[in-house]
Every structure is written in C-alpha cells, then in structure tokens.
C-alpha cells in the first residue's frame, strides 16, 4: 500500500524553467525515505511541495489514495523539521513544543500528557522553561524533533535537520532519529545533501540532480549498481574512481591509457555498441597484492593514515585514483606500488549517456554478509 504517491510532478517558478521534472515516486507507510542530492538540486522544493508550502506546477500528488495537490498544509496531517529548527525565539521550550497543539485546539490535559511523554523521550524534561537562545545546537535540534513528535502526525518531513550540528553530534542524532522513526512507526521523508546520512539512515534513497531523479533504491543497491555516473560518484566516500576505457585487440581493455584488463568475449560484445566507455571502480577494490598476485603497479602520490585504514592517492595515467586499504600500511610516496585490481570490480558506463552499461559483476554477491 503506497502512502505517498507522486505522479509526473513538475515545478517551475518561471514558465519554461523547470526546477523539478518528471518526478514519479511512491513512498510506503512506515518507510524512512531519504532525498539526497547536491545543493540546488531541488530537494527542499520537492519536500515543501509535499508539505503543501509550495504549489505543485504539474502532476498529481496523492496521500492515502487522495489527491492533495491543493490541500492546505495543516490538513495534510504531517509535521516538519526545518534546517534552522524554526523555533520561536520568544517562547520557552515548553511553549515551542506545544505550539502546534495549541493552534489545533487540543485539550489542556492531553497537551500536558503528550508534553511529558515527549520531553522524557527526548531528554528535555529539565529544559522546558528555557528560551531557545539558552540551548545548545543539539538541544535546539531536540526541541524541533519534539515538536514534530508531539504532533503525533503519521508523516514527518525533515529538511537537512542535522547540517547545523558538529560531526560527533550528527552521528549521534542520526541514530536517534532512526530509532525514533522505528519506535513511532513514522513515515519519514528526510532531505540531506550528505550521502553518508543518506546511506546510513534510509530504507530507500532517491538521488536527485538538477531536478531529475537519478535513481531510487536501497542504499546498498545504489552503492553496488549506480544507475549512472552521477550516482556512482555521488554515493560512497571516498568517491568511485572513474577512468576512460578503450577496447583493444590483445588484452581487451585499456583504462586511462595505463591499466590493461582482459575482457572476455561477452564483455567485449556488450561494450562494442557503445562508442565511449567509462569505467568506475570503488577505492576498496584497488587491493593490496598480498592475497592475490599483483595485476598492476601504480605510482603513489599521497598516503593518509587514518588509523583503522589507509587511504592512498595513486596516479593512473595522469588522474588521481583513491585506494582504501583496511589497517595500517607503511607506504612511501613516489614509489611504484603493486596492486590487485580485478576486472570483476569494474562498473561500465556509457560516456555519452552516462548510463550504467554493466555493474561490477562481483558486487552484490559475496560482499554483503547476512547473519
């Protein structure tokens, strides 16, 4: 049963200049749905259209099987958390939390009951008398969440709610929001420009770029089988290494004029129809030649020791590729390094359409471990 349905939604502020195009999407009840994309891609606009704060230019927006294109925000039964939290500066935490309930004329006793529950759940019980300016960023964030929780609306929209917090707090709040959503059974639409947030929080992710859907799917699917070059380089950190490929007679495949790979007949055939080919490979798939025999040797340009892993910048025909090796490695820059790169780990894209031709054949199997 789909809860929210977008059919061919478009949005433009000036005629002929579409900010969002051909948005087709369904979101299930109880789903944690993440909208991710670079800034300016139209994420907020889309979210605000769902909230009813922005007019829908074209297409149909349905909630619970009903068309809601022209429904007032207050009648959509949803709550929203804003990037700047939108707390009322002149009201106390308590008044801020109860603001919506007051406007909806919910009885005093019910208000107090919900306030108590929510404040306890969010750890705000001791702060109820404070003004927003007397709170830390994390606490303000909690008040904003509490305001949304207290409304008991089944649908919650969040627009980059964590981007004003420091990294540590952000990681903590990610978990908390996720837990809250599961606990309350909320349908959550979560906007972020941070692919880590998207990957770690979402049941499903939609990648948006320039107002167009790039791909919708489970985080792991987006990672393993990115539908195009944009998704490939947007999802994953460090980003996927990209190189131009040529099909050659003898070994089969030459990437960036440097890396040679063998290509079997089926791959050759699949690639032949495409004029220009781009290959992508994840940093963790450029592996040390310890378990395997080295396939290539590359010049090391830079080494970053992160403690639990080592990040290497390698020169591949004039372009810098990143490799990520687990553990600590003592490697000197400027030397040639033996590495193992399997053709199985290469994803193939058409350079013109930027669409995926063939995902890494290795991915998706043997990578994900189920317990």
């Amino acid at each position: 049963m789909s809860y929210i349905e977008l059919k061919d939604i478009t949005k433009s502020y000036h005629a002929g200049n579409n900010i969002l195009e051909e948005i087709d999407l369904t979101i299930e009840k109880g789903e944690f749905f993440v909208l991710v994309g670079p800034s300016g891609s139209g994420k907020s606009t889309l979210l605000r259209m769902i909230a009813g704060l922005e007019e829908v230019t074209g297409g149909i927006l349905k909630m619970d099987e009903k068309i809601v294109n022209h429904l007032q925000p207050k009648d959509r039964n949803l709550s929203m958390v804003f990037q700047n939290y939108a707390l009322y500066p002149h009201l106390s935490v308590e008044q801020n939390i109860l603001f919506g309930l007051k406007a909806k004329k919910i009885s005093k006793t019910e208000q107090q009951k919900r306030l108590k529950e929510t404040a306890e759940m969010m750890g705000l019980s001791d702060l109820l008398g404070r003004k927003p300016r007397q709170l830390s960023g994390g606490q303000r964030q909690r008040v904003a969440l509490a305001r949304s929780v207290v409304s008991e609306a089944p649908l919650c929209l969040m627009d980059e709610p964590l981007s004003n917090l420091d990294a540590k707090l952000r990681a903590q709040m990610r978990v908390e929001i996720r837990r809250l959503q599961k606990q309350l059974g909320l349908t959550l639409i979560y906007v972020t420009h941070d692919q880590v947030e998207a990957m770690t929080m979402g049941d499903r992710i939609m990648v948006l770029n320039d107002g167009k859907i790039q791909q919708v799917g489970k985080p792991i699917t987006l990672y393993n089988e990115p539908a195009n070059l944009f998704v490939a380089s947007f999802i994953g950190s460090p980003k996927m290494n990209i190189g131009r490929a040529e099909i050659k007679e003898a070994p089969g495949l030459l990437v960036n004029n440097t890396l040679a790979f063998s290509a079997d007949a089926r791959l050759q055939e699949a690639l032949e129809v495409h004029k220009d080919i781009v290959v992508g490979i994840r940093p963790e798939h450029i592996q040390p030649a310890t378990h395997y025999e080295a396939t290539h040797s590359l010049e090391v340009v830079n080494v970053e020791q992160l403690g639990n892993e080592t990040s290497l910048a390698l020169d591949v025909g004039g372009e810098l590729w990143t490799a990520k090796w687990p553990g600590q490695w003592e490697i000197e820059t400027g030397h040639l390094l033996e590495v193992y790169i399997s053709q199985e780990h290469l994803s193939f894209f058409d350079a013109q359409t930027e669409k995926l031709i063939r995902p890494a054949s290795f991915s998706g199997h043997g990578e994900v471990q189920a317990i």
């Binding site: 925000p73 207050k74 929203m80 939108a86 002149h90």
Partner: protein, 271 residues
Amino acid sequence: MRIPIGRKVITYLLLILAAFLIFTPTLMAVVMSFMTNQDIMTGSLPSAFSLDNYRRAFEQFPLLHYLINSFLISIIIMIGQLVLASLAAYAFVFLEFKGRDFLFYLFIATMMVPFEASIIPNFHTIRDLGWIDQYTGLTVPFFAMAFGTFLLRQNFKQIPKELREASQIAGMGDVKFYLTVVLPVAKTSLITLGVYGFLTSWNMYLWPLLATTNDNVRTVQIGLRQLQSQEQMNDWGVIMAGAVIVIIPTLILLFLGQKKLQRGLTEGALK
C-alpha cells in the same frame, strides 16, 4: 587601536566645546526658568533660586490642559502608526500577491514628498470632513507612515520564513501568527518606532496650528507660542519654565527607551 594622548586630549576638548555650544540654549532655558523676573530683566547672573515661574506657568494659562492634549494626540498617533505600519509591513513580508514589491516601492516613494507639500490637501480633506478642532483631524493624517512601514518591513524580513511555515503546518492563520509571533519577536523595533512616533507628534507644530482654532484641543507647543505673544512684554521666565516642562517627556522617553532598546536588542538575538 591606541590613540596618542595628545590627539586624545584635543579630540575631547573639541567634543566638549561642541557639546557645550549645542547645549547652551537648553542650559540657558533651564537656568532662566529658575530665575526671578528681576534677574532676567537686568540680565545679571541668577541671584536667587525660585520656582515661581513654574507656578505661574500653570496658573496663567492652561498648560496642564495643553499637556494632556499633546499627550493624548501623541499616544493616538503612535498607536495608529504602529498598528498600520506593522500590518502593512506584515503584508509586504509574509503575504504573497502580485505587484507586492512594486506597491512597496511606491509606498516608499511617498517618503520623498515632504510633509509641507501635502499639508494643504490634508487641510482641505479634514476641513471637508469637519475634523477641524477635533482629535481625529489632529491624528488621523499621520497614521499612514511610510518610514515606519519600511523600518518594520526590514525587521520582519529577518524573521525566518520557516517560522511562518511551521505555523502554517500547525494550522495557524495570518492574524494569529501576526499577533503571537511577529509582534513579540519584533518588539524592539516596535518600541523604537513607537518612541520615534510619539516624540515626532509631541514636537509637532505646524499641523496643530492649522488644524485647531481653540484652546480645547490645542497642543502644548502651540500653547507655548501663544504665551510668547500674548503680552506686550514677554515673561521669559514663564516661557522657559513651560519649555522645560515640554521637553521633560522627550528626555524621559529617550532614557527609558534607550534602556529598553538595549535590553531588547540583546534579548531578541537568536542565532
């Protein structure tokens, strides 16, 4: 930054001199208001301190009545301006309608028309309405205030639009949002504007002169002027006493307002 001591001394001397020059007339008025008539006439230095002038100011002409008139008129104008300017500013910031910005600039353009230029049409209007010698005639023409609208619009624009959106989602209408969020949040600017409006009206001279013909509704500024020409020989002591009384509200408001302003500024700050 360190300023050399010599420069500092010179700067301060100049500042003191300038302050003295500017303040001298006021100072003289205050001193004269406490002097006896004798001393004023002979132009000597004050020889005795007397409150006689103040007593006579209240006795000889209806100063109290004028003061009350001035006060009422200033308060009414202030409230009228605050209500109209804040409502207009709200519309210019939070309501979306076609030609909003154009209308606003048109509104602002009226600031370039000096009050003196509109005084005759205004006079015709209130005369035709029969508002001469009425509080309405003295106050209503000042309600619409382009400057106030401009000031409040700038201030309201700083209110994040997410606040309005959050209230929309909560199901709160414009009027309620205006009353419960915008006004409290913009408190500081409203007070500033209120003080400004009050003082401007309090010190108004030309309009009350035109729009009144009798003592009943006359303001204190006009009253003072009358005092000066009523007798053949001006009783400067009384006039100065009246003038001092008239500037008292200005001073009170400035001191109070300044304090309130500072508090409001720090209170309203929320990053």
